[in-house]
Amino acid sequence: MWSSEPPAAASPLTRARVRAAWAFVTPMLAVLALVAGWPLLRTVWLGFTDAELAGMGDATWVGLDNYRILVGDGTWWRAVGNTVWFTVVSVALETVLGLAIALVLAAPFPGRGLARAAVLVPWAIPTIVSAKMWGWMLHDQFGLINDALLGLGLIAEPVAWTADPDLALWAVIAVDVWKTTPFMALLLLAALQMRPRECYEAARVDGIHPVVVFFRVTLPLIRPALVVAVVFRALDALRVFDLIYVLTSNSEATMSMSVYARQQLIDFQDAGVGSAAATLLFLVVAVFTVITIMAGRLDITEGAR
């Protein structure tokens, strides 16, 4: 709880403090307005113009034309579908796997510190590097994955994991799961370690089956941390760019909304359509954020008190 709320009649000292507070906040706010507020407003505006990348200054207003182009573009809808599918599947897999890993690492065993450190390795590796590493392991001719699967007799001939349109998105999902499950596992592990012991002792005395204990005791106890972790991961997944751009470049089979927007903006120099696509992605993320805050009753202002 915040303990030094200002008294009803503000003393000169309090007023001086409030003035100082604003002076302390202003530089940060000015920078944030410059690098976040202004570019966002410009992007929204450019989405209603025929702007080209070179010379965005002489853009003229074209109303909803860019949005009409998007609605009629199959590639855009493919990108929307890919983004949603990627988000749902990868976050679901990461949650289940992350929870499983967290439960294992919560058990006491010698060398637990080392195991936890090992789990942090994928998180520490830059996304670009992990995309390249997996691109090499998934290589159709010389890759380790094909070699191992052929050796085990699971496939009859090498598979083009990142080039086959039916498999490429699954390859992207697999790499993302490898890269971000540790983050999930560690957040959940932190929550698991704050569980009160008493609930479990009571359950053990009553001889309740461990699976029942998991669903009736463990899950409800870590629910708040679980919801936050899932929301954060989902927000991250919706804006995915690096991994897809490096693993499969501009392939339509895996293109996300971010990749589409950047391709329009930079490769096709069409700042109008690119900005409109970026604005739509922003709206999707904003709506998702508002819905989860309301549905999960995530009290964000809790942190502000």
Binding site: I101, T127, V129, Q141, G274, L281, I300, T301
Partner: protein, 275 residues
Amino acid sequence: MRRTAARLGLWLLVAAIVVFAVFPFYYAVVTSLKTGSGLFRVDYWPIDATLANYLAVFREQPFGRNILNSMGVAALTVAVSLALALAAAYACARVAFRGRGLLLMSILSVSMFPQVAVLSGMFELIRGLGLYNSLPGLALSYMIFTLPFTVWVLTTFMRELPKELEEAAIVDGAGPWTVVTRVFLPLLAPALAATGLLAFIAAWNEFLFALTFTLSNEQRTVPVAIALMSGASRHELPWGNIMAASVIVTVPLIALVLVFQRRIVAGLAAGAVKG
């Protein structure tokens, strides 16, 4: 008997988790030590290990320069965001002023921005300021994701500090500036280190802005340099060089993360769970 079986099962699970986490990086190291036709053969441990790729990376392209660029941009980003965030966090954590809740909400909502959502506006801004294809331009754009995060985490940490310290300093006639720099700063050193480290890693790894706002190989940061590495022919990538470069930039990160493991988890938890 059952206990031994359970113990064995736990060990197998742990081993599987560790292999799953570490093997891809191990395989990158093995690949980085191979050249020529060795690259086209799958080996599970180094055979005929050579450091040729590590030398080639620096000889065939300005990779040393790319590393310095990444360090410079990340250091500048961290220094400026920590300075701005420390001042702002003091105000947000210790002073009850009108609009504080709204302020923290807007800072948090900025951290949800997809980077692409500001890409065209940021491109125009960077060009307008004459910072296109320059390192300060990159550092400026990185503020969009380091500032909200550092303000948020430092506010969380600063709220925990005892009120008496500040009151004693005020009684002694210290102004807010003195309170922050002389009283709080030393106490916050561990928090600043953890926050700074996370911001450094975020800036070091950033790809989209670095790809879009730089043009020449000499101005590129490490992730862009690795992503755009190409060989003599367009169709065959120099995998040995790419893996060597990947290992070079990843080893320091892994070392940092292992050393600061506890603090990083605490920082992530403060940033995420309380958000």
